[in-house]
């Protein structure tokens, strides 16, 4: 399926105020969804979809239609967020960060806080190794399973 076709479909959806279109063409399956609210606003009581527009393609489909590579593609192991929330690198804005690049951590080392529902959750490394990279910014909103740190295991 050509990108232009998808663009045309999106245009038609907007014109006709459609919120969802599914197309199956041979091996290719396409699901387009659009929300009319400014941001993460779904229309129903279902949990918010992460993005207003989703393109689903089978494994062999054209890579052009795939979403941009996510940090999940980072090599090596990562410490991932166990929850949706806000990432904090330090216990308070004027404190030193829990960990820095090059620090050695073990399973029980607290590496950051993820705040959800005003609960400040300490996140532990849960593995031992050396922090290679911090993958998110302080005070950034993070998703469930989003890699927070790249770590080189011992």
């Amino acid at each position: 399926m050509e990108i232009q076709h998808i663009r045309d479909l999106i245009g038609l959806m907007k014109e006709n105020e459609l919120t969802e279109v599914r197309i199956i063409e041979g091996e290719t399956r396409l699901l387009l969804k659009r929300g009319s609210a400014p941001v993460d606003a779904p229309m129903t009581l279902a949990p918010a979809m992460p993005a207003p527009l989703q393109i689903a393609t089978p494994q062999a489909a054209a890579p052009a239609a795939a979403p941009a590579a996510k940090p999940a593609e980072e090599p090596g192991e990562t410490i991932n967020s166990p929850m949706v929330g806000t990432f904090y690198a330090a216990p308070s804005p004027d404190s030193e960060p829990f960990v820095r690049v090059g620090d050695h951590v073990h399973a029980d080392t607290v590496v950051c806080i993820v705040e959800a529902m005003k609960v400040m959750n300490e996140i532990k490394a849960e593995t031992s190794g050396t922090i290679q990279k911090v993958l998110v910014q302080n005070a950034q909103a993070v998703e469930f399973g989003q890699p927070l740190f790249q770590i080189k295991p011992d």
Partner: protein, 272 residues
Amino acid sequence: MTHAPSDRFTAQAVEKNLSTQHLGKTILVYDEVESTNDLLKTIMHEPHYNGLVVFAKNQRRGKGREGRTWTAPADSSILCSSLIHLEGQPHDLAGPISLVCAVAVAQALIHTFQIPVRIKWPNDIYCDGKKLAGILIESSKIRPDQVAFILGIGINLTQQPIDFPPELRDTAVSVAQVLGRPLEPDEKIFLARRVIKELDDQLERMLQKNYDQLRHDWLHLAGGPDQPVIVTRQNQTFNARIIDIDYRDNSLLVQNPGGLILHLKQNTCKII
């Protein structure tokens, strides 16, 4: 006598006739600590301390969110932290525990003083449009399937406007201000006991997975479904009405004037 003498506020006084299942088997009252939450943090992993409740008459370094301080003149407030170990995962427990604290503190204030408090999403306690109590919850996974929570609660009791830092005078309020009279000596003890009892009852309800009742109580104490709120999100401010809570994504459901139902997350918007 205009203030409760602080020497009457003892652990024995608070735990008198207190019957609980989870919290308060041990209650400690300190004259002064850095912060009650920090005190519990040092022992939060110890099964032995599960259920411990500590009060402080004074905090040298009371904590709020994002590094903010929680300031209170000595003996002016309930400053309390409770430790509870719960089975489960942080992402499943964070929403309910946050609502548990809000409902418990609101109920304790209503039953002790018959004052019209209101919860603001997710767990601030307001009265007359000003903040009366704040909650700071900290958690740490202590086993693969167990999380330790520190439930930190600060309630303004005897402050007059002059006692608040200038930047908070228009936005903070105390029980004495709301009542328009000084507190009786034992009222701080009654409130402290009631806070523990309500927290314990709500925790039991959470452990029984009675999340619907918790949601119902939260909504009622937030002004009921249809409560008007002002939402600020991504530099946009709009009016909306509360519809419900969605535990699945820890969001508050509101309806905007156009009829759209929005899922509002605590970390992406401000709701007044």
